[in-house]
Symmetry: C2
Subunit: 416 residues, 2 copies
């Protein structure tokens, strides 16, 4: 079976044509666990906030007109008739010529329409001298001035961070309706792959991809569902893929896509449902054997077995779909501008991604230094890279000292 490799853009376009971000359903979570979830309801305010006229300072609640004309050498003198504390509706009222002691955050007593700051007063028993006039509503936060009852304050689709969760708390809500988190089935294939924690038999290697890709799934805010290493046997793989497709929102396999005698992942995907495999290999380096299919609306990615290739292809093709399944805004990878530390060659006719490490040179220029990859799929390449540089098909190389854009693998920037 020989098929022409798709270009990077053709593969993206083909995936896009088949991908329908399905609604994964909603669930209710308590506020303390709502971080980074996607709100699935519009929130309108059930109350005025603040729910009452509120003093913004410590001082005295008054009728503003009683203070008109008051100044340093000609104070207004009022009678203190009580106190307004936070957390309770004051029982006392403010009449003409009267004042009520009040603290920040306390409700204004009936009759008062402004608050004089304590610094602008002098008190002798129940006599209060006011040295500064206030206007109506001065030092008062009016009922509903922050949020009006019935106002729309959070919209369906917003990602809940500290501020949004603060807003939900302001309304006294303890729960929020959010989108379900996408579940990603992770299967490892390949006769040489062994589960961690077991003794390594001769000729075998440990399963890396389930863990690196699983972690990248967590990093994207989604849930990996580990299927482990599937025995190298068509019936077993078929059964595992069938289960994966029926219980996860995306399926990722790794290994088993080079054209060896035992590589039947694509056949099985085709047999599970339409349209089946839609991308048979992509003209990229690394990652050429990348295979992508859909069983109904479920995306199935068969990533290459090499750890670096697998993680790169996950970032390039799978992660954007996953974020959209999660209902999150398209979040491009972080980038940083740097200078090529040495000449980087492209693979003839293939979109090339060169893993680089960031470091500063003696002139404080940020350098993107290619990570020595040795043989393809080296694990040290993964561990040593801060990100990658993209070289397009029509470029032969990027020369040393040329400016390059580095796509960062993680938010925190450089390794230490």
């Amino acid at each position: 079976m020989f098929r022409k490799l798709m270009t990077f853009e053709e593969a993206q376009k083909t995936i896009e044509e088949h991908f329908k971000p399905t609604f994964l359903g909603e669930e209710e979570v308590v506020l303390l666990e709502a971080y980074n979830r996607v709100l699935n309801e519009d929130i309108t305010s059930s109350l005025d906030i603040p729910p009452f006229n509120r003093s913004t300072v410590d001082g005295y609640a008054v009728k503003a007109q009683d203070t008109y004309g008051a100044e340093e050498n000609q104070p207004a003198t009022l009678k203190v008739v009580g106190i307004a504390n936070v957390g309770e509706q004051p029982q006392v009222k403010v009449g003409m010529g009267e004042a009520v002691e009040i603290v920040t955050g306390a409700p204004l007593p009936e009759g008062a329409d402004a608050v004089v700051m304590v610094e602008d007063t002098q008190r002798e028993d129940s006599q209060l001298h006011v040295f500064n006039a206030v206007t109506i509503n001065e030092n008062v936060q009016k009922k509903g001035s922050d949020i009006k009852k019935d106002a729309l304050i959070l919209k369906k689709g917003q990602v809940l961070g500290p501020s949004e969760i603060g807003v939900l708390a302001a309304l006294g809500l303890t729960k929020a309706k959010v989108l379900k988190i996408p579940i990603v089935a992770i299967l490892s294939t390949g006769g040489e792959v062994t589960e961690l924690g077991k003794k390594l038999p001769t000729g075998k290697i440990y399963d890396i991809n389930a863990y690196s890709i699983g972690t990248a799934v967590i990093e994207a805010g989604c849930k990996p569902l580990y299927f482990g290493v599937i025995p190298d046997d068509k019936a077993a793989l078929s059964k595992a893929l069938q289960t994966a497709v029926s219980c996860a929102d995306m399926v990722i396999t790794s290994g088993g896509v080079s054209v060896g005698p035992k590589d039947y992942t694509p056949q099985i995907v085709d047999s599970l449902g339409k349209p089946g495999i839609v991308v048979y290999g992509v003209a990229v380096k690394p990652g050429k054997p990348t295979t992508v299919g859909f069983v109904g609306e479920k995306p199935v990615f068969a990533l290459p077995g090499h750890p670096t290739s697998a993680l790169l292809i996950f970032y390039l093709f799978a992660r954007p779909l996953l974020l959209r399944l999660a209902g999150k805004p398209a979040m491009p990878m972080r980038t940083v501008r740097a200078v090529a530390g040495s000449r980087m060659f492209s693979a003839k006719g293939r979109r090339t991604f060169v893993m680089v490490r960031l470091e500063f040179d003696a002139n404080c220029r940020l350098l993107a230094v290619p990570v020595e990859s040795g043989a393809s799929g080296a694990i040290t390449t993964l561990a040593g890279a801060d990100g990658f540089v993209e070289i397009r098909e029509n470029e032969q190389f990027v020369d040393a000292d040329e400016e390059v854009l580095v796509y960062l693998f993680r938010g925190s920037g450089f390794r230490t």
Copy 2:
């Protein structure tokens, strides 16, 4: 009690002088839960990776010298004596004039020192014609070429992401020793503050800060420990603070720090241990009543009650300490350059932080538009802001159309 406000820098310096990032201890976690944790051990490789000489292509394992001089119209002819599969040490050996069929990833049979790609061969039963010469080690990934046994491959202090966890998996490790996650006690004070989920009595407001700050703690990769709303009573607050100091790595209270009659948080912190409160208010706007202390080495932040102020002060002062307690690299807030959407004024003599919303204007310029704050502490300010602009004490204002640096509240950029 009147004390001179510290400047922003004085407060930072004072906190720095008292802060000792203590070792919180280590714990062992399984690899699947190690994401974003800080490694607390050096990892040296217990094996060569790959653990054997490995073919990087599908083809035939040969002695390179048997192919020397082979070309399109003058093939070398070898005898196929067996097959090498992935995952098992081949039983067959390659002698002079012999070849062994091999797939990608399979161990090289004894005697072979190179692999001819299947594309460069033609086979008739056990006869193999080779049309292209190979050199020694061609298409072979040598044992230990990726990672040598006993090499140091991950260092204590590294944050575990997809790549690092992939490297741990490559060694067959199922667990990692990591630093414990800092625990942050979160206490709400203030007689007007009510727990969520209860009916709101007249004169009261719901507890916002525990939720916004708690979420910001989670966002920083740490664990909030919620103490709820502490009754407005000195003994109760004293007991809660004492418990918080003894069981958490940082304590954050909010509310109760303006100079009202019932604000005894600072007194209690002083009574719990040396040095007690070290910052009594900071010349910033908003956030002036910010109080910071240490009980032994435990930092205690008494944040202002206003939601916007509390979250801002958390980001400015508490979060950097929290990341260092977690053993993580100092991660500055993300910033973006924008153009002031309107004139922003500073508060006389105070470092001013103006909450802004980002939007594009008709000319595709990124604007930082101040969020109408109404009265201080508005919740809508929180919900509407993408970040803030800093105005220094010696600046009167930032004019419309001036370039400003916007500190972003979250990684994902704009709100939708």
